[in-house]
C-alpha cells in the first residue's frame, strides 16, 4: 500500500518535473547555440586574418624572388639594356614582352608566371633603367594589377670596360 502511494505521488509530480526539465534543456540549448555562434564568429575572424596574412606573405616572397631575379639579370648584363632584356626574357620564360627597356612593365598572372599583356594579369613589375655616364641604374617595383606596391628595389651597375674591373 505504501509503495502504491509513493507511485501515485511520483505520477502527480512528473508532469511539472518534465516541463521544468524541458525548459532547462531548451535554455541550455539556447545558451549552447549562442555560445557556438560567438565562438564560430571569433574563429572565422581568426582564420580569415591568418589567411590574409598568409596570402600577403606569399605575395611578398614571390615579389622578392622576381625582383631578385631581375636585379641579377641586370648585374649580369652589366646594365647594358639589350643584354639585360635578353637575360630577363630568358629568366621570365621567354614572354617576348620586353622591347624598349627605358620604362617597361612586365605582367604576371595570379601564380606569378609572366604573361604577354595586362589582360588577366594579377601583378606587374615596373622597370626603369637610366644611364649616367658609364653607370646604369635600375629601379623596379612589383605591384598588384591595381597598383598596390608589394616590393621595390634600386641598384646600379657600372658598364663593363676593357681591362676595368
Amino acid at each position: 500500500m505504501a509503495d502504491t502511494g509513493r507511485n501515485a505521488e511520483k505520477r502527480r509530480a512528473l508532469p511539472s518535473a518534465g516541463r521544468s526539465g524541458s525548459s532547462l534543456f531548451l535554455l541550455e540549448l539556447i545558451i549552447t547555440i549562442g555560445f557556438f555562434a560567438i565562438t564560430g564568429a571569433v574563429c572565422i575572424q581568426l582564420f580569415l586574418a591568418a589567411h590574409r596574412i598568409s596570402v600577403s606573405s606569399r605575395e611578398k616572397a614571390e615579389a622578392v624572388r622576381i625582383a631578385q631575379n631581375t636585379a641579377e639579370c641586370f648585374l649580369a648584363a652589366d646594365g647594358e639594356p639589350e643584354m639585360f632584356a635578353k637575360l630577363l626574357e630568358l629568366a621570365l620564360d621567354g614572354t617576348g614582352s620586353l622591347q624598349d627597356m627605358n620604362v617597361q612593365k612586365v605582367y604576371f598572372d595570379g601564380d606569378f608566371c609572366a604573361v604577354q599583356d595586362s589582360a588577366g594579369a594579377a601583378y606587374m613589375m615596373e622597370l626603369e633603367t637610366e644611364k649616367q655616364e658609364d653607370l646604369y641604374t635600375l629601379a623596379l617595383a612589383v605591384c598588384t594589377a591595381d597598383g598596390r606596391e608589394i616590393f621595390s628595389l634600386e641598384t646600379a651597375e657600372l658598364a663593363e670596360q676593357e681591362g676595368g674591373r
Binding site: 534543456f25 591568418a50 596574412i53 606573405s57 611578398k60 616572397a61 628595389l153 634600386e154 641598384t155 676595368g164
Partner: protein
C-alpha cells in the same frame, strides 16, 4: 553530467532502459570544441604572423643588399685614384658590403674591384653552457 541510466518498471514487469543526458553535458562538449577551435585558429594566426615577419625581414635584406651594391658602384664610378683600399658600405641590420679595390691595369680603369663580399657585423654570443648540477 554525463549519461545516466534510468530504469523504469513497465506494466508487464519488464524493465525498460532509458538514457537521458543531464543538463550541462552539451555545454561542456561545446566548450571543449570551442577551446580546440580557438586554439587552432590562434596557432594558425601566430604561424602566419611569424611567416610574414620572416618574409618582411628577407625582403628588407634583399633591398638593403642591392641598395648597398648600387652605392658601391656609384663610389667606384667617382673613384679617381688607383690606390689599394677597402670600402665598407652598410647593408642593413648587422650586414655590410666590403669592396676590396686594387690598382687597375694599363689601358683600362685606374682601379680594379678585387672582391665584393657581404659580411655579418652582428656579435652573436651563444650560451653554450648547460648546468647539469647545482
Amino acid at each position: 553530467m554525463g549519461m545516466e541510466e534510468v530504469s523504469a518498471a513497465s506494466g508487464q514487469g519488464r524493465e525498460r532502459k532509458r538514457y537521458t543526458v543531464n543538463s550541462g553535458f552539451s555545454l561542456l562538449l561545446l566548450l571543449l570544441i570551442a577551446i580546440s577551435l580557438i586554439s587552432f585558429a590562434s596557432l594558425s594566426l601566430v604561424s602566419a604572423r611569424a611567416d610574414s615577419r620572416i618574409s618582411d625581414q628577407y625582403a628588407a635584406r634583399v633591398r638593403d643588399y642591392y641598395t648597398a651594391h648600387g652605392k658601391g658602384q656609384e663610389y667606384l664610378q667617382k673613384l679617381e685614384s688607383g690606390d689599394a683600399q677597402t670600402m665598407v658600405i652598410p647593408a642593413g641590420e648587422n650586414m655590410q658590403l666590403v669592396l676590396e679595390i686594387v690598382p687597375g691595369q694599363e689601358g683600362g680603369r685606374k682601379w680594379k674591384l678585387q672582391s665584393e663580399k657581404l659580411e655579418n657585423t652582428g656579435n652573436y654570443e651563444y650560451d653554450d653552457h648547460l648546468q647539469v648540477m647545482h
